[in-house]
Amino acid sequence: MSNGLRMTAIGAVVAMSLALAACSDAPRDEAGSGGDAGASEAQPGGDLVIGVTSDPDTLFPWRATQFQAVHLLGNVYGTLTELDENLEVVPGLAESWEVSPDGLTVTFQLREDVTFADGSAFDSEDVVFSLESIRDEATAAVAASTLARVTAVAAPDPSTVELTLSTPDSGLFANLATVNLAILSSDDTEEALNTQPNGTGPFTFEARVPNQSVTLARNDAYWGEPALLDTVEFRVIPDESSIVSAMQSGNVQMAVFDDPLVADTATSPDLTVTETPQLSYHVLQLNARRGPLADVNARLAIQCAIDRQQVLDTAALGEGEVTGPITSPAYKSDPDARPCPTRDLDRAREYLAEAGLPDGFALDTIVSQGEYATSVNEAQNLQAQLAEVGIELTFTPLESGAYVDRWIAADFDAAVALNGGRPEPDGMYGRYFTSDGNLNQVAGYSSPELDELFAQGLQATDEDERKEIYDQVARHLEDNAAWVWLFTSYTYTVTTNTLQGFVPMANGSLQYLRTAGFTG
C-alpha cells in the first residue's frame, strides 16, 4: 500500500517536471503547426473555454456572416463538402461526387450513417430541402448566389442528389463548404433553429446565456472520428485585454485575436501564440466608374505611387505580407508581377501626365473606424504617400454603419477595406468583377476580357489550367489597377500549452476543435 503511494508520488513528480520542461518559455509558432510542443497525446474528455468578444448575432446558419457566429456554427452543422487544413476540398456529408462530361450534371453520393443532433436520420430529402430553400429569395440566405448556376435539385434515391447546372461550375465544390450552405433537417424551421441549432457536425448545441456564453457538447453520434473534448464553451468577454487576463489566470484556454498588439501581451510560459496568414486582404478599392479614375492611367498612377511594404510597416507593425489579388495558397498571385512592383514616383507622374492630370487629382475615400484596428493608420499612410505625386486623398473615418451604407451604394472614389477571402478564386472575385456579379457595382470595374476569363475558369476542370486562368485574372486586375491590393495579415491563436491538436486555418475556421484535446 505504502509502496503504491510512493510510486504514485514519484509518478506525479516526474509528470510535473515534464510538464514544466514542456512549458519553460512562451513559444511562438509559425503558421499552422498547431502547437505540438509537448510529446504527450491529447486525451479524450475535458472542457474547453474559448474567450470571444461578442455573442453570435444569429444561430441560423444560412444568414450568419459575423465571425463568431460563422465559426461557432461550423462546429454544429455539416456541409456537402469540406475543406481540409490546406483548404483542399474533401468529402463532407457527400461521400463522393461525379460531374457529367458536359459539366452540367453533378451527382452527389451521400453518407448513409448520419443523424442530426435531434436523432432524425439524414438523407437526400434534407439536401433537396436545404438547397431549394437557400435558392428561394424569400429565405434571404446570404449564399444564394453560390447556387446561381443550379437550375434543379433532384433526389433519385435517399442517398443520391443530382444538381442540374445552367453552365459548368468547377468552383462549386469548394464553395459548398461554408456553413452558409449548411444542410438542415427538412423537418426544421428557422424559428426553431434560432434557439436550438440542429446539425450533423462534431458538436451539438447545448446551452446559451444571451450576452454571456454558448456551450457545445461532443456529438457522440458524429459520422466521423468523434471529438475529444466533452464541451466547448464560447465565453463572452467583451474586452480583448480582459480575455488575455482570463487566459493568464487560467479561466480561458483559447482565444483568437486580429490585433498583434493584443497578441503581444499574451506572454506567459503557459501560453502558445500561433500566427496564421489569412485569406482576407487589405486593399484600397478604387471606383473606376467615377471621375478621373475612369482613366486607367489615373489608377495606375495611384498603383505606382504606393509602397505597400511601407503601408504594412507603419499601419500594422509589419505583421503581414504584401499580396496580389488572390490569397488562397493554391492560386496565390505573385505580388511582383504587377506594374510598379516597387514604388516608382517617376512612373506615377508619367501616368498622371498621360491621364492629362499632371497636377494630380482629389480622391474621396471612405474608411471604416472600429471594424479593424489598422484602417485609419492605413489611410493616413496612403494619404502621405499619394500626396507626393499630387494626388490628394481625403477621408473621414466612418462608424461602421455609415461606412457600410456608403460602401453598398458605391458612394466613394476609393475605400480602405479589409475584405474576406475565399479558398476558391471564382467565389472570391467572380461576384465583384464579372459584369453581372452581385457586387460589381461596388467593385467599380468590369471588362469583357474578365467576363471571358471567369467563364473559362468555371469550365476548366484541370487544376493547372485553372491556376493559369486565375493568374491571368489577377494580372488583368492589376494591369488595369482595378483596385490597389496591399497586404494580408495574420490571426493570432493563443492557446494554453496543454491544449493540443487544434489547427488554425487561413479562413479563420475553428473546425479543428474536433481534433483538439488536453494532454494529461
Partner: protein
Amino acid sequence: MLDTLVHNGVVRRVAQSVFTLFGVAVVVFVVLRAIPGDQITANLGTEAAALTPDQRAALESYYGLDQPLLTQFFGWLGNILTGNLGFSARAQTSVADLTLQALPVTFELAVLSILLALVIGIPLGMLSASRPNSARDATGQVVGLAGLSVPAFLLATTLTSVLASRFGFNPNGEPFARFFDDPLLNLQQMLLPSLVLGFGVAAPILRTTRTAVLEVASDDFVRTARAKGVPARRLQIRHVLRNALVPIATMTGLQFGYLLGGAVVVEQIFSIPGIGRQVLLGIQQNEYALVQSTVLVIALAFVLVNLLTDLLYRIIDPRVRAA
C-alpha cells in the same frame, strides 16, 4: 388623500415624469433612426450589398422595418403600455427578459459602488474640511482629483491585468454568477468593478462634502455648540455633518442615477452583463426595440431615484417637510 398628494406636489411630479419619459421615448426613437444603417446592414455588414431586392424585402418584413415610422413608434409605445418591451432577434428572447436579467446586476453594482464612494468620500471630505488649505486638505484634494481624472478604463484594465498575471486572481474570468446563485463568487466579481466605479464617484462626493461642511462649520449654531462644550467629534458628526447632508444626498442621488444607466466601460472590461452592455450591444446591432425599451427603463429608474432623493430630503431636513 388625493388632496394631500396634490398639496405635496406629488401629482405634479408624476405628471412631469410621464412627460419627461415621453420626451425620452421620442428622442431615442428619432436618434436611433438617424444612425446610418439598419438592423440588416448591422447584421450582414458589407454582405448586405449582395442582397437581391426580394431578399432585402424579406428581411425588412422580418425585422418590421417595412412599416411606416409612425406605425413603428406608436406600435412600440402601445406594446410598452401592455408590458411588452419587444423582442431581440440577436438574443432570441424578449427585451423584458433581458432587462430583468440585466437590471438587478446593474442595481447591485450601483449600490455597492455608491456605498464604497460614500465610505471613501465623506470621511475624506470631512478630513479636508477640518483644516482647510492644510496638508491634510491637500491630500484629500489630490485623491479627489485623481478619482475624477484617472480614466475608468485605465484603472480597470491595469487592475485586472496585474492581478491576473501576477497573482492569478481573476474572478471576472469565470462565468458571471448571480448573487442568489453564488453570493461569494458574485461579490468577488463585483469587487473590482465597484472599486473602480466607487473611486470615480467618491471624488464629487468628497468635494461636495468638503464644501458643505465648510459652509455649515461657519454657521452661528456651530460656534454656539462649541461654546457650550460639545466634544469635537460629536460636533462634527451630529451637528455639522447632519446639517451638511442635503447637498451630499443630492450629489449621491445624481451619481446613483448615472450608475443605474449602466457603467458601459466598466461593464465591458469586467464582463458584467449589466444594462449598459445591453444598450451598447443593441446600438451596435441597430436593434431598435431593444435600445428604445431599455433606455426608457433606465430613464424611469433615473426619475424614480430623483423622486426618492426628494423624499430623503424630508427625512434628513425637517425644514423641507415644513415647506
